[in-house]
């Protein structure tokens, strides 16, 4: 538990402090929420970018103390832990035994509960699908006091609603995860410069041969539509020895407070982008790197969102289906370029065909684009609304974990199973995001 004002998401969110915070400490104890006059929502690491983790005026269930491991079988690669355990803590325990998480996002500082509730994905979606696809079972605690052990074979309706369910179906108490074996703690990485979107798609056609693939785009380059960037693909390698103890990279530097205004201005980022694009001498470079640097480059700077200043940033992540991949991505990037809103980080990847059981699961076949913008007020929001329209027209979707403004109309187009999901929402659980998309 911390001062109320510190329960914020990673990015921009308007005034959003909860009325109260209730700590959840022991998995065996009931939730004392039945008599509360307000709704509740679980809150762990606060790494969602928008308001899917907020419940202003209501109560937040702080699950940071629900962070115990329950059992680990290093022979079979099965792990059971409470939902507040972070992926970082899991890696610290399992990597020395030669195991890894099958799906990892861009940061290790998210909780297992958050990973399930957002059905997160990583650079290997085309091979491994989403986080929820590697969850064997979990326990869900509802406001009426009932506990459900959910799996694909037991209480499957709650299982499918909770994966990607943004914490709205109840509190995930513990989960059992299937790990994957790795030969070593290194990644054999190939880094290829490309100059156009067509080149990106040509490179991405070979995704199936690699475990991890992703592309970084330079959106501040003068040429329109922006399409140059660096394609990265890699596989686990037997290189570095498995570390004995805590393996994961700790932030070497952390921003203790928000910078005034934003240190990230267009010229500075444009210069960084240029340097990053040209960082390697040859077009294609192969290296072996430690996994922490490959998976979590941004974790090297703690609280990096503070670089954006008090208003932080907004991230927009969408997916456009295979038929509209090329034109859709091009249209999105052109719209961004023409709006004048500076996009400081852009990541592009193609999702694979594996579909999660989660009713509100975001990843689906197509090209996914993630864009970081400093929040500049209504001009930023207008741009994102325009991007929504492009995505709706293309038949794609926008990722709720990054969102702070999608309309109910768009939401219903992005997630056709939303009504089946709504029937499973716990009546006492709610979030700012859910109220917004079910009211308009």
């Amino acid at each position: 538990m911390r001062p109320l004002g510190t329960y914020r998401p990673w990015g921009y969110a308007p005034a959003s402090a909860p009325a109260a915070v209730l700590p959840v400490v022991w998995r065996s104890e009931p939730l004392a929420i039945a008599r509360l006059p307000t709704t509740v929502l679980p809150f762990a690491c606060g790494r969602s970018y928008g308001d899917s983790c907020l419940n202003p005026g209501g109560v937040l269930l702080d699950v940071a103390a629900l962070d115990r491991f329950i059992a680990f079988d290093p022979g079979a690669g099965m792990l059971r832990c409470e939902a507040g355990v972070t992926l970082a803590e899991i890696l610290a325990v399992v990597v020395p035994h030669g195991w890894f998480l099958p799906v990892l996002p861009g940061t290790q500082h998210v909780s297992v509960g958050g990973a399930i509730a957002n059905d997160i994905h990583g650079k290997n979606h085309h091979r491994a699908g989403t986080f929820g696809m590697h969850v064997v079972r979990f326990e869900l605690l509802r406001s009426d006091g009932q506990r459900f052990t959910c799996s694909s074979g037991e209480h499957a309706d709650l299982f499918c609603a909770t994966i990607g369910g943004l914490g709205l179906t109840g509190l995930i108490v513990w989960a059992e995860l299937r790990l994957k074996p790795i030969p070593g703690a290194a990644i054999a990485l190939e880094r290829i410069r490309f100059e156009s979107l067509d080149e990106f798609f040509a490179l991405s056609a070979g995704d199936a041969d690699f475990e991890y693939t992703v592309a970084w785009l330079d959106c501040l380059h003068r040429r329109e539509p922006a399409g140059r960037g660096v394609f990265m693909r890699g596989d686990h390698a037997a290189g570095h020895a498995l570390p004995a103890g805590s393996a994961t990279a700790k932030a070497r530097v952390s921003l203790p407070w928000e910078l005034p205004g934003s240190v990230l201005c267009r010229p500075a980022v444009a210069a960084f982008n240029k340097a990053y694009y040209w960082a390697q001498r040859g077009r294609t470079v192969r290296r072996t790197v430690d996994f922490a640097g490959f998976f979590f480059p941004l974790d090297a700077v703690g609280n990096w969102n503070r670089l954006y200043g008090r208003n932080r940033l907004v991230q927009y992540q969408c997916v456009v289906p295979p038929g509209a991949e090329r034109e859709g991505t091009r249209a999105l990037l052109t719209t961004v370029h023409r709006s004048g809103e500076p996009c400081f980080l852009a990541v592009l990847k193609r999702f694979g065909a594996l579909r999660s059981l989660g009713l509100l699961s975001f990843p689906r076949p197509g090209a996914t684009l993630a864009l970081d913008f400093p929040f500049r007020g209504s001009s930023t929001l207008r741009l994102l609304d325009r991007l929504d329209e492009l995505v709706v027209d293309a038949g794609g979707a926008v990722y709720p974990a990054k969102d702070t403004r999608m309309s109910g109309r768009s939401f219903r187009r992005f997630f056709p199973a939303w009504e089946t999901f709504a029937a499973r929402v716990d009546p006492q659980f709610s979030s700012s995001f859910w109220r917004r998309v079910t009211s308009a």
Binding site: P23, W26, F69, G245
Partner: protein, 242 residues
Amino acid sequence: MLIVGATSAIAREAARSFAEEGAQLFLTGRDEEKLAAVADDLRVRGATAVATARLDLTHLASHEGMLAEAVRWLERLDVVLIAPGLLPDQRACQKSVADTLRALEVNFTGTVALLTLLANRLEEQGSGCIAVITSVAGDRGRPSNYVYGSAKGGLHVFLEGLRARLYRSGVAVVEIKPGFVDTPMTAHLPKTPLFASSRRVGRAVYRAIKQRRHIVYVPGFWRLVLGGVRLLPESVFKRLRL
């Protein structure tokens, strides 16, 4: 390593650091279900072996039995960490002798009774370390929490004497004084930036024990704060509403 009060937030966090080094841990607490949850966690984090036993510090008659079981299982007592802690309702204690005495029983008498037995065992063993978590509240009695403060203050003096006595036998006595800590014990208090996380305090406890420090304030700035508070003359202090 024996940890008394192992289900408390600070002790749990300190225990994790010891587990990561592969320690053998004997845990006591009042609730067996919670103890089991803590034990499971420590095993996964690297503890070589973990055993648990139910113990209520205020049941003095049960102390000897628990110690005997711990020594049998651990084979020797290297480190003993005692985390006694019940934050009483100061106002309620002012109105009730029973409440006041209960608070003193948990925070002072029970701990002292256990320390008496422990001191003798470790003196005989000729080695070891006793670590006790007290509080900055014990540095000077404040109107807002002097019942709690007096227990912790009394414990402080007891530990000072114990340290000097056991020094001759090669046994170290470590006292850790946290300031405000964010734990279930303080869940009802509004959180200010002065609160430290139980993780941070737990790690500090671990370091203090490894380094065999004497008295450690966590976070360190409290040493200065309390140094200043202790210097205030009573004529001034009694007027402040601390």
